[in-house]
């Protein structure tokens, strides 16, 4: 699968976002509301460390993983980020292709009060531990994960230390 094809596949599942509304000019006819565009962009590897960034809806994470698997990519890391002010969690999946060194970051946002994502551990068994770790630190539930017991935290841990409101 070429990089262009991969981009097409990912564009198909990317989350849609409305571009900023055009400025209202007095007297002129109000401009039509712009159509939503998929959240996918090629990035400068030297500045961001990734070649492609795509945001997908939460329920498309496993589909994205399947696409990346078919393209021969490696799942290198899963990173959670707590956006407390926006009441959201962001989860970043970092994929890399060994042959070319190309990197793709797949992002998903989920509400903090119902943090559920589908698991990708059936596609990438290596995701098992990454997801368990993300569950440890953020309390994000990965639906379909075989075992979400604490991995790095103590076995009876009920806290999630990387939440921004932890300990406050």
């Amino acid at each position: 699968m070429t990089f262009e094809n991969l981009k097409l596949y990912l564009t198909g599942i990317a989350a849609m976002v409305a571009p900023p509304a055009p400025p209202v000019i007095e007297g002129a006819e109000p401009a039509p509301t712009p159509a939503p565009v998929p959240q996918i962009a090629e990035t400068d590897h030297a500045k961001r460390g990734t070649d492609l960034e795509v945001t997908v809806p939460a329920d498309k994470v496993a589909v994205a993983s399947h696409i990346m698997d078919n393209a021969g990519y490696v799942l290198e890391a899963i990173t959670g980020v707590d956006w407390l002010a926006e009441n959201q969690f962001e989860v970043v999946y970092d994929y890399t292709l060994w042959a070319s060194g190309q990197r793709v970051a797949v992002r998903a946002r989920i509400p903090r009060d119902n943090p559920v994502l589908p698991t990708v551990s059936a596609i990438y068994p290596g995701a098992n531990w990454h997801e368990r770790e993300t569950h440890d630190f953020f309390g994000i539930q990965f639906e379909g994960h075989p075992d979400l017991t604490p991995l790095l935290l103590p076995e009876d841990a009920t806290f999630h230390p990387l939440r921004k409101d932890f300990g406050t």
Binding site: A46, R48, L152, L162
Partner: protein, 372 residues
């Protein structure tokens, strides 16, 4: 009673490997379900060395987080620093002077030598051979002396800074490094005679603990583990960072995918690292070792970035998210040992316990790096 009439009573038992065991190289527990001498299931129980470094990254300024990097993978601590300072530099748009880049490469590759030498000794201890450790530690001691003279530390280095390195290297260091490389090169035939050609070692390693290329890909393994599985993947080549693209070196690859292949990859990497150090010393320019105008209180602009380096164990990655303040909003540390260890459960199934210990040793685990 005939033999046919006897019902064979078969049961498994649970055996705890660790948390404290010479072959686990740290506080690692593996819950083994054994069928006699054979492993039915091996569940790694990790987290004994967990210190929540990622939270510390959010609680202290970028510069104050630097010493933490020496405490992740303490056998090859400079690689963690390298990944972290490069990530911050990428985020803040800092350019590093030429001399500092060369010094970073020289010291990092010295650290790789030290790490591989320590691994060779420790791996042989896992397999029951004590002698090689005494020789590899002798060589490693020279590296630690060299690194101590320039970084001030022997293990938990905190030497790289945002925009350069802490101290300039002097002639003593350069002369000492060249002398050391000559010495180590002359000792490689001795290592091969002592270890590589040893029949017991070969019987314990050849064909033992295969990890296929596809397993590596599915588990996100990296470093000598994938190069021992026939994949030519090295961040220094495939995604060059720092000034590695200027040096002439090979990526050793072996296709056998067994413990022996991973051993050979590391031994060849010792040769390649020495080549890189020599070239870096030859090309070493004069000039400053710190970028000018790096603010004391660094506040990178809002945004995020990812940076990877080829550590002695594989891909060490840092994903930084900045919200424009003096502390990182999120500092994710991607540890090579974490991913390399996660494939152990699948690969050790059906192995003899003694062979599984060889497999565990060949993964070159540093537990504090895995647990973070």
């Amino acid at each position: 009673m005939s033999i046919e009439a006897q019902t064979i009573h078969r049961e498994t038992f649970v055996l705890n490997l660790g948390p404290q065991h010479p072959a686990t190289h740290g506080v690692l527990r593996v819950k083994l379900t054994m069928d006699g001498e054979y492993i039915e299931d091996a569940e790694p129980v990790i987290g004994y060395g967990h210190r929540m470094h990622e939270k510390m990254g959010e609680n202290r300024t970028y510069a104050k987080y630097l010493p933490n990097m020496g405490r992740l993978d303490y056998v090859a601590a400079l690689f963690n620093s390298h990944g972290y300072v490069c990530a911050v530099e990428r985020l803040a748009g800092i350019t590093v002077p030429e001399r500092a880049e060369h010094i970073r490469v020289i010291t990092a590759e010295l650290n790789r030598l030290a790490s591989h030498l320590l691994w060779a000794g420790a791996f042989l201890i896992d397999l029951g051979g004590f002698t090689p450790l005494l020789y590899t530690f002798d060589d490693r001691e020279h590296i630690l002396d060299l690194l101590e003279s320039v970084t001030g530390a022997r293990l938990t280095f905190c030497y790289y800074r945002f925009g350069g390195v802490g101290n300039d290297i002097d002639d003593n260091f350069i002369v000492g490094t060249r002398a050391f490389i000559t010495r180590l090169r002359s000792r490689m035939p001795m290592y091969h005679a002592l270890i590589t050609k040893n029949i017991i070692f070969r019987k314990r390693c050849e064909g033992i603990g295969p990890i296929s290329a596809e397993t590596c890909r599915k588990y996100g393994a990296s470093g000598p583990v994938v190069r021992g599985a026939g994949i030519s993947y090295d961040v220094r080549k495939n995604e060059p960072y720092s000034i590695y693209s200027r040096f002439n070196f090979n990526v050793p690859v072996y296709h056998e995918a067994d413990c022996m292949a991973r051993y050979k990859v590391r031994m060849d990497e010792i040769i390649e690292s020495m080549r890189i150090i020599e070239q870096a010393l030859d090309q070493l320019p004069s000039g400053p070792v710190m970028a000018e105008k790096v603010p004391k209180m660094l506040k990178p602009p809002k945004g995020d970035c990812y940076f990877n380096v080829e550590s002695a164990r594989g891909v060490f990655g840092v994903r930084l998210v900045s919200d424009g303040t003096d502390k990182a909003y999120r500092a994710k540390l991607r540890s090579p040992c974490f991913s390399n260890m996660s494939l152990f459960r699948e690969c050790s199934q059906g192995m003899l316990l003694a062979d599984a210990l060889a497999l565990l040793g060949s993964l070159d685990l540093v537990i504090p790096d895995m647990d973070r």
